[in-house]
Structures are given as structure tokens and as C-alpha cells.
Subunit: 430 residues, 2 copies
């Protein structure tokens, strides 16, 4: 570990530019931390000559990012291309095979191929680091992999997508509907032109699969995440949540139970006054139950140039110091297969909202279907009266079997007195 750590950068967009800038301007303090210099020795980007406000013109440029993996003057490849397949995957695999360390922000790639890539890194004696893939501004990967290791972590939950939290917070403060707030978020640059991955919960699922792997020592299991997005949440639900003393947040939740691992991404009712409920705007947060070490809560910026750069730089310094253990905290061969909790075991209390015709018998019909599935009601609101018109019936159930509630709702939705698909949101205790 003498001599400079030589970095090949694949991608010089917002984050890549941020990383390059810190490497060029913070040379001395990074050298102090790493006990050696860190230098950019090759770059690859879509546009060669774009003005990025940093001096990289004397650094060799590769039109093909894959060429970075083959250069003799590169020790570590920083992959900031993105995507679970394609060039990003090819580059990471080729770099690891060529015995180059890899630092990446690519959550999709890791969530899908994490265990295979970790094994590849191990076989080649190099590191694979991805702090930037999960809530860049919160050192949660490092904390789970190196910090909270004395006791078993039994649960991780978090607000892992800033776009969704921004939209939900805005809907709450303005009372405006989802589509309107999304459009404004897109105009302000808080949401992508194609927001599917964010609002559909896919981005949260990627991050959750990685957190669950780090927390429980299991193979990342992206397909095991039951995912529901926020696009069906209405201002009415947010207002009713407030009446019950809750806020609606898109949560990623992973639990290690006696029946297996449960991974959920869905809007959830979070009790006002708890740390997760108080996470505002585009902030991210993660909490973990770490046995005898107690419950932890971390909040910070999840995305954007500064937070993501911060994570990539931390990984690079670890690589430079030679401080790298197994990517997921244990050897790839020791990662447990992810035994999924059977769908039947999933239990929760639920918030339910029905849009019904205000006619005699409708409540009896709903109650009967719920009772048939052994779902009992803890509290109920029926607001206003408008005979012959649609009104909302809102209830919170006692702890119930998820699949039973789904069956009951299906039966209820079939009634000609019920409009819209009933809304069903789990109540999250923590």
C-alpha cells in the first residue's frame, strides 16, 4: 500500500464531478486519512469536453468505460453509470476480474447481483464498496457492516427515497393531490422526468434489499421485496391519518422473524412524534433494532451531489487504507439464502378507507366481509351524511392477517355500493 491509489472514474455527471472535485481539492486531508495519496488517473464520460468546473484535461480519457478495467494505471474503478445490467454490470465485473477495487453508487446492480459480485471481488482479493448506493449522506452501510456488529440486528426500517418523502410532505402541507404535487416536484427538479422508479417504490426496494443483507447476513433478495408505491395515496388519506395521530410515509421495512425474512416497501401509517414520522421534505432516515445495543436512528440527506460524493469519498479512503472486509459483512459463501417469510405470516393493523354510497346496509355489508375474514375493527370514522351520494368510511383494524384483509377488500370492492378500489395502509408501530 505504498504509492498513490490510482482512480479510474466511469461517469462524470453530477456525482462524478463532485467526487473529482473533492479528490482534486482535498488532496492533503484525504492523504492524512488514507496515509497515501489518491489520484485520478483515467476517466470515462459521455461527453469528453464538457465544462465541469474542474481541471481534468490532463487526465487520460477513455471513450469506452470498459477500458478502465484494463488499464495498468488504475487500482480502483469508481462506477457512476448506473443500471442493473448493461455497461455498469460489465464494467464492475471486468474490473473485479482484473483485480481492481470497485466503488459504486449503483443500488440496482448490487440489489440484483450483490452476492455474485461480492464473491467475484473476494476471489480476486479486491474490495467492492457501495456506501453511496443507500442514503449517501448517512453512513448506514458502514454502520451496519462495521459498527453495529456485536448483536444481531432484528429489524431495519427507513425512509429511503427523498422524492417520495418530499411529495408526501408537500401533499400534507398543501392538501393537493398526488399528480399535482408530482408535477411540481418534477418542475423543481425533485423528481425525475420518468418518476416510476421513485414513486413506484422500486428505488426504495433496491436500498432495502441491501440494508436487509447487511443487517441479517443474507443474500440480497430484491425479488423478495413486496413493493407498493405512493401513487394511490389521496389527500383524504393523509387528512384521516392526521386525525388518528399518524403521518403517511413510504417505508422500507425488513424484519428477521422466526418464519423468515419479511421485506416490505409500502406507504405506512407512522405515529406522530416518533422519529420516522418527523422526517420532513427530501430527508432520508433509517432505524435499526440492534438487540442489546438498542435502537438506532439516523437521519440525513439521501441523494444529490454532496451526500453521494461524501459516500464515494469515504469508500475510496477505506480502499486506500486497505480497510475493507467482505462487501456484505461476511464472506459471500457464508451469506445465508434469504428464506422469505410466507405471505400468510404477515400481520399488521391496517388503515382502510372505503368510498361508499350512503345508503342503508352498506356498513353491514362491509362489516360482514371483514368478519368473514376474522378482521376486527378497532376504530371507525364515518364523516358527513349525503344520502344516495358517495361518502368515506375509514377504519383501523386490530392486528390482522394481511392476506385475509386483502381477501375481504376484494369481496367488498365487488359490491355495487362501493366506489373505487378500497385503500389499505398498514399501521407501523415504530
Amino acid at each position: 500500500m505504498t504509492g498513490e491509489l490510482r482512480v479510474g472514474m466511469a461517469g462524470l455527471g453530477t456525482v462524478g464531478g463532485g467526487v473529482a472535485k473533492v479528490l482534486l481539492t482535498q488532496k492533503r486531508s484525504l492523504e492524512w486519512r488514507a496515509a497515501r495519496g489518491i489520484a485520478i488517473t483515467a476517466v470515462s464520460a459521455r461527453e469528453r469536453d464538457k465544462d465541469r468546473g474542474i481541471q481534468l484535461s490532463n487526465v487520460p480519457f477513455e471513450a469506452d468505460p470498459l477500458a478502465l478495467a484494463e488499464r495498468g494505471d488504475v487500482d480502483v474503478v469508481v462506477e457512476l453509470i448506473g443500471g442493473e445490467e448493461g455497461v455498469a454490470r460489465a464494467l464492475v465485473e471486468q474490473a473485479l476480474r482484473a483485480k481492481k477495487h470497485v466503488v459504486t453508487a449503483n443500488k440496482a446492480l448490487l440489489a440484483r447481483h450483490g452476492a455474485t459480485l461480492a464473491a467475484l471481488a473476494e476471489r480476486n482479493g479486491v474490495s467492492l464498496k457501495f456506501e453511496a448506493a443507500v442514503c449517501g449522506g448517512i453512513p448506514i452501510v458502514k454502520s451496519l457492516r462495521e459498527g453495529l456488529i456485536a448483536y444481531d440486528v432484528s429489524a431495519v426500517r427507513g425512509i429511503l427515497n427523498g422524492t417520495c418523502n418530499f411529495i408526501l410532505t408537500q401533499m400534507e402541507s398543501t392538501g393537493r393531490p398526488f399528480a399535482e404535487v408530482l408535477a411540481e416536484a418534477q418542475r423543481l427538479g425533485y423528481a425525475e422526468a420518468d418518476p416510476t422508479l421513485d414513486i413506484g417504490g422500486g428505488d426504495t426496494a433496491h436500498k432495502l434489499a441491501l440494508l436487509a443483507s447487511l443487517a441479517f447476513g443474507t443474500v440480497p433478495d430484491l425479488d423478495g421485496v413486496a413493493t407498493t408505491g405512493i401513487d394511490k395515496i389521496s389527500p383524504a388519506d393523509i387528512a384521516f391519518a392526521g386525525e388518528f395521530g399518524y403521518r403517511i410515509k413510504l417505508l422500507g421495512i425488513a424484519r428477521c422473524t422466526a418464519n423468515g425474512i419479511e421485506q416490505l416497501v409500502n406507504p405506512a401509517m407512522v405515529k406522530t412524534g416518533t422519529p420516522l414520522a418527523d422526517v420532513e421534505s427530501s430527508f432520508n432516515a433509517v432505524s435499526a433494532d440492534a438487540g442489546e445495543a438498542g435502537t438506532f436512528f439516523f437521519q440525513g440527506r439521501g441523494a444529490g451531489r454532496g451526500p453521494t460524493t461524501s459516500a464515494v469519498i469515504a469508500d475510496l479512503v477505506d480502499v486506500a487504507r486497505g480497510a475493507f472486509g467482505p462487501p456484505f459483512g461476511r464472506p459471500a459463501a457464508e451469506l445465508k439464502p434469504p428464506q422469505r417469510e410466507p405471505a400468510e405470516a404477515r400481520m399488521s393493523a391496517y388503515y382502510l378507507r372505503f368510498q361508499v354510497l350512503d345508503v342503508p346496509g352498506v356498513m353491514a355489508e362491509i362489516s360482514r366481509h371483514l368478519a368473514n375474514e376474522m378482521v376486527s375493527i378497532e376504530s371507525m370514522i364515518q364523516r358527513g351524511r349525503a344520502p344516495g351520494e358517495p361518502v368515506a368510511i375509514v377504519m383501523i383494524t386490530h392486528e390482522s392477517q394481511h392476506v385475509a384483509v386483502v381477501r375481504a377488500l376484494k369481496a367488498i370492492a365487488a359490491s355495487d355500493k362501493v366506489f373505487e378500489t378500497p385503500c389499505m395502509i398498514p399501521m407501523e408501530a415504530a
Copy 2:
């Protein structure tokens, strides 16, 4: 780094017993993380044969902890004796000189002698690690030293002492006075028989000096911490704080300003609804302003067996992996001397409470003294009327010079219409 990491344990109390238990029962998962085994090869404790619920009878025992530093079969000494001088200091120094790594929970030792000990560790090519010294259950030392390193940290603030937070939370929920709540906390084991270090703010000052050093790259400067404890806080102040929308918390605050470094430990008014205000019971929390990477907030258990054990184990695994940089994030020789912000530069808004005789002219007198020192009032409450009897006058000032407020209060306290020493609590923005 082949072969087991051989641990010499000095101290087998609550934490030492916890560490030994994890090392004995989690052998396999720790070996996975460290890529080598970790074994206890010698112990020293006050009582040799006490039943600790763990099997250590086959481990060599040293009556004198200093002997651990000299044993050929010890690679790392875990110092859990405590105290800024005496045996703990001698052991740590001797171990480092004998080229043994040191893992310690000793905040007093590090806050006082951190830079010297870091230099000694460096000269001998070994590590000095102290995650357990600051909020054991929160990996804040690792996060500041290895995670949030791309951008300069400009401020750190935290609730660093669980005992004080427990007492203040209890005073708030029960309305009972400090002495009563302290006595109950002692009975319940939440406060020590001699609580001076906790309630006087000294323990918070130790931790703050370490956080400031990690955050700003400066020599730990314990004597530079202006420290005020919580023993003068009355139920009246807590109630008035509530009326203004604040809660009183004992904060440690370190800021890096243009004029130097400010380190404060004192009860502070924290705005309701902000993360620090919501920290309940004996929890700890730290927030940091990390430039472009944003503001972070960490909450968890600060003390006790589980959290502290967790921190010591994390340090041991880092040592076993060979993953150690400079103890304070940069070489000891590069730690900046702590240039203290001059007392005159300290500015804040303040909560002031005066117990006064309800007679004409008293308000005029107080106002005159404040005006003389250029302290202006933002809001004021005078509750109740009791002519000739003591009543409370409470005010919140605009941003004012700290020393000017102190001078004004001294002048006001000299009045024969004013009882008790006036109460002065800074308003903390974050």
C-alpha cells in the same frame, strides 16, 4: 495479520463482561468480519473469581493490569478501567509503547491526553480506538472519522449524557424538582451515587472535546469547554420553556467559526419538533453540519452494557482487520492547535428568569440594566400578581453578546427587589 488477534482485557465489570461474552459467543461471525479469529488471552480485574456468567477460568489472570502491556501473547489491550490519570493512563501508555493496539472506553483520558496518546500510538505503529468513549450505541466516532470526511464539518451538537436527559425528561413529565428526580434516578440506577460528573456537565464536556477534535481536526481541548450543569434548572423554567415552544436539554455544542472554536456544554432551549428536542429518556443523540453533505442526525443508546460493548467489539474487529487510520482522523502532528473563540464573540438569544418582588419599578430597573448592556427583549411573560410577594418575570432576548448578558444579570442580581440568582439559558437554533 494471520493468526488470531490476542486480546488482553483490563476490567471485567459490566462492560468488560459484556465484551468477553460477545467475544466468546460470537466467535464465528466476528471471524467472518475480521478474516481472523479474536481470542481473549489474558485478563485483569479487581476480583479474580467473581461469577460473571462467562467461562474465563482458563484464561491467564494478571493481578496488576499493567502486566497486560508486557505480555508477549497480547496484541491489543482493552482498557475498561477508567479515569484520566492513574492506572488507566499508565496502562494505555505502556501498552502503546510496547507496540500493542489499545481499545478504550475512557473519555476522560482521551479528552485530556488524546493528542499525546495518538502521537504515541503513531510512533509505535499501532492503533488507539475509542468508539465506546462517546455515545457507545451510536457509531459517531467512526462516522466522523471515516464517513463524513469529504467536506468540512462546521458544527456538532448533541445530547451526550443519558442521565441528564433522563432527569430533565422526568422533571418535565412529573413537574417535580431536580433534587427529587435525581434521588429517584439514583434509586433506579440511572444516576451514580456520586452524580457530579453527569449533572455538572463534565461527562458531556469529555465527549464534546472528542467530537470537536474528530470534526474539526484539532487537538482535543477539554479546558476550552465552557461547562454548566443542570442542577440549577427548576420546574418553573421547564414549564416556561414549554409555553415558548421549547424544551430544556443539556447540550454539548462545538462550532468552528471564523474567530476560532467554540465549545459549550450547558442547558439549552431547544425548539419543540426539532430532532434534538424529541430525544427522550436516557437516549443520546448527535447532529453534525457537514457542509455540502448536509446535516446528519444520529440517535441511540449512549451508555450501559449493550451499547458500550457494541462499540468495543466494532473497534476490536477493525483492529483485527488492520483497518485503522489515525485515531483522530489525521496524523497527530497535523492536528491543529485549538484556537478558542474569544469569550466576547459568543452570541445567542437567551431565556432569562428573574424572581422579583412584585413592586412598582422592578421591571424598569431590570430593563435599564439590560439596555445598558445593549441587550434587547424579544418577548416577555409576567405571570400573576402578588403585591409585595415574589413573582417570576421571564423574557427571551434578541441575539446578544454572552458576556454583556452576564454583566447585566450581575447588576440586576444586586438589586434588593430581586431574589435568587437570575436564570439564563441560551436558545439553541437547531
